[in-house]
C-alpha cells in the first residue's frame, strides 16, 4: 500500500513539476475561461433581465469547456515523447498511474476554478460563493477528472486526439453538470446543503462509481 501511494505521488509530482515549469495547461485553461466569461457577458447582457440569473449556467459551462482543454493534455507529453512505455514498464499496478494522472488533472482544474471564481464575483458583481457551493464544485470536478482522465487516455490513442475528447466526455458528464447547476441555483436562492442533498448524493454516487470503473478498466486503456 505504501509503495502504491509512492507511485501515485511520483506520477502526480512529475506532472505538477512539468506544469510548474511550462505553465502550458494552466495558461490555456485560464485564458480560455476569461474569454468564455467575456463571450457569455455579451451573449446574455441585453436579453436576460438580471445577469445573476445566468451565473450557475455560466459557471459550470465555463468549467466544463476549459476543463476539457486541460484534460486533453493529460497524456500528450507521454505520447509525444514516447515516455508512456517507460511509465508502463514500472513494476507497479497501472491503476497507480491512473490515480496520479487523475489527481494532477483534478489539481489543474481546481486551480483554474480558484482563479475563475473571484473573477466571476467581480464580473457579475454578486458574491455567490458559499461553503456548500465549494463542496459541490469539488465533487463535480472530481467526477469530471475521474472520467476525463480515462477518456483522455482513449482519445490520445486515436487519429483525431483532443478533438474527440469533448464528444466522448460531455454526454457522460451530463448528470454532473445538471447536479452542479441545480445545486448552484439552490444555494444562490438560499437553500441549505440539506435541501440539495439529493444532488450531492448523485454527485457522490457518480464519483464513486466512475472511480471504481476507471480503476478496473484503466489497464486496458494504456495496454500496448
Amino acid at each position: 500500500m505504501k509503495r502504491y501511494i509512492q507511485v501515485v505521488w511520483a506520477v502526480l509530482w512529475k506532472d505538477l513539476r512539468i506544469e510548474l515549469r511550462t505553465k502550458d495547461i494552466f495558461t490555456s485553461m485560464a485564458v480560455f475561461a476569461v474569454l468564455a466569461l467575456m463571450i457569455f457577458n455579451f451573449a446574455f447582457e441585453l436579453r436576460v433581465p438580471d445577469k445573476t440569473m445566468v451565473i450557475p449556467g455560466v459557471l459550470w459551462v465555463t468549467i466544463t469547456f476549459s476543463g476539457v482543454l486541460g484534460l486533453g493534455r493529460a497524456f500528450i507529453s507521454e505520447k509525444d515523447r514516447g515516455s508512456m512505455a517507460g511509465l508502463l514498464l514500472a513494476p507497479v499496478d497501472r491503476s497507480a498511474i491512473y490515480f496520479g494522472k487523475m489527481l494532477a488533472s483534478l489539481i489543474f482544474i481546481l486551480v483554474m476554478e480558484i482563479f475563475l471564481l473571484p473573477l466571476m464575483v467581480i464580473f457579475f458583481n454578486t458574491n455567490f460563493i458559499s461553503p456548500p457551493l465549494l463542496l459541490v464544485l469539488f465533487l463535480g470536478t472530481l467526477g469530471f477528472a475521474a472520467v476525463g482522465t480515462v477518456f483522455s487516455g482513449l482519445a490520445v490513442n486515436t487519429r483525431t486526439r483532443e478533438v474527440l475528447l469533448p464528444v466522448l466526455l460531455f454526454p457522460v458528464m451530463l448528470p454532473v453538470l445538471m447536479a452542479g447547476i441545480r445545486a448552484t441555483i439552490g444555494f444562490m436562492e438560499g437553500d441549505t446543503l440539506a435541501d440539495m442533498m439529493k444532488w450531492v448524493n448523485l454527485l457522490l454516487f457518480f464519483d464513486l462509481l466512475y472511480l471504481v470503473v476507471a480503476y478496473m478498466t484503466f489497464d486496458f486503456v494504456v495496454e500496448e
Binding site: 480515462v150 483525431t160 474527440l164 466522448l168 451530463l174
Partner: protein, 234 residues
C-alpha cells in the same frame, strides 16, 4: 462460420412472420383507445411501434455492455463483433423510438419536442453511441480499437440511468410544460390493447434477435475479408 446459415434463414423467416402479425395486431386487431380524444386515436396506435422500439434499443445497449465486459475479460474478437453489432442496432432502434415519439407528440402534446425525461435521455443515449462509433472510426489497429471501444461502451452504458434520474429530478423542480404521467398509467391499455401491445413487443424482440444474428454473421464475414486482404497484401 459462427452461425450456421440455415439457422439464420429460419430466424429471418420467423422475424418476418412475427412483424406481419405485429402489424395486424397493432393496426387491425387492437381497438381504438376510448380514453383519448377521438382526433388523436389513430396516433395512439404508434404506441405499438414506439414502445417496442425503445425496449429493443435498451436490450441492444445492454447486450453491447455485456459484450464489452466479456471482450475485456476474454480478449476474444467475437465479443467485439457482438458489441459493435448490438450498438449499431441500438442506435437504429433509438432513432426509430425518438422519431416515432416526436410524431406522436405533435398531435398529443402539440409539439414535436419537449424536454420530457425519457425523450431527453434517449437523445443523450443517441449521442453517447454516436460518440462510440466516432471513437471506433478514429482507431485503425483492430485490437486497440476493440479495447478502447469496450472501455467506452462500459462508461457510456452506466451513465444512462444517472442521466435519466437527473433529468427527472430536474423536471420535478421545474414545472414541466406538458404533463408527462408516470409509466404505470401512461399506457392505460384495455385488455385487447394489452394483448396487441404484448404481441408487438414480442415481435420487436424477435426482430432484434434476427437483426443481431445477421449483423454478427456479417461481422465475421468482414473479419474473414480483412484476413484475406492481409494475406494477399491487398
Amino acid at each position: 462460420m459462427n452461425l450456421s446459415r440455415r439457422l439464420l434463414q429460419i430466424l429471418n423467416v420467423v422475424a418476418l412472420i412475427a412483424m406481419l402479425i405485429a402489424v395486424y395486431a397493432a393496426l387491425i386487431q387492437a381497438p381504438d383507445a376510448i380514453n383519448v380524444d377521438p382526433s388523436i386515436r389513430p396516433a395512439q396506435r404508434i404506441i405499438y411501434f414506439h414502445v417496442p422500439s425503445a425496449w429493443s434499443s435498451m436490450l441492444a445497449f445492454f447486450v453491447a455492455f455485456v459484450a464489452s465486459i466479456l471482450y475485456l475479460i476474454t480478449k476474444h474478437i467475437r465479443w467485439d463483433i457482438w458489441a459493435r453489432a448490438a450498438s449499431e442496432l441500438g442506435i437504429a432502434f433509438t432513432v426509430a423510438a425518438v422519431i416515432s415519439g416526436s410524431l406522436w407528440a405533435k398531435p398529443a402534446w402539440n409539439t414535436y419536442w419537449t424536454w420530457d425525461p425519457r425523450l431527453t435521455t434517449y437523445t443523450i443515449v443517441l449521442l453517447l453511441y454516436i460518440a462510440y462509433f466516432m471513437l471506433r472510426g478514429a482507431i485503425d489497429e483492430p485490437s486497440r480499437r476493440a479495447r478502447m471501444a469496450a472501455v467506452y461502451g462500459i462508461f457510456a452504458f452506466l451513465s444512462v440511468p444517472l442521466t435519466f434520474m437527473s433529468i427527472r429530478w430536474w423536471n420535478t423542480i421545474h414545472p414541466v410544460i406538458v404533463d408527462a404521467p408516470d409509466s404505470t398509467n401512461k399506457f392505460g391499455l384495455g385488455p385487447n390493447m394489452m394483448q396487441a401491445f404484448m404481441i408487438t413487443n414480442m415481435a420487436f424482440i424477435i426482430l432484434f434477435v434476427a437483426l443481431l444474428a445477421n449483423r454478427i454473421s456479417l461481422g465475421w464475414a468482414e473479419e474473414r475479408m480483412d484476413a484475406l486482404k492481409e494475406r494477399l497484401n491487398f
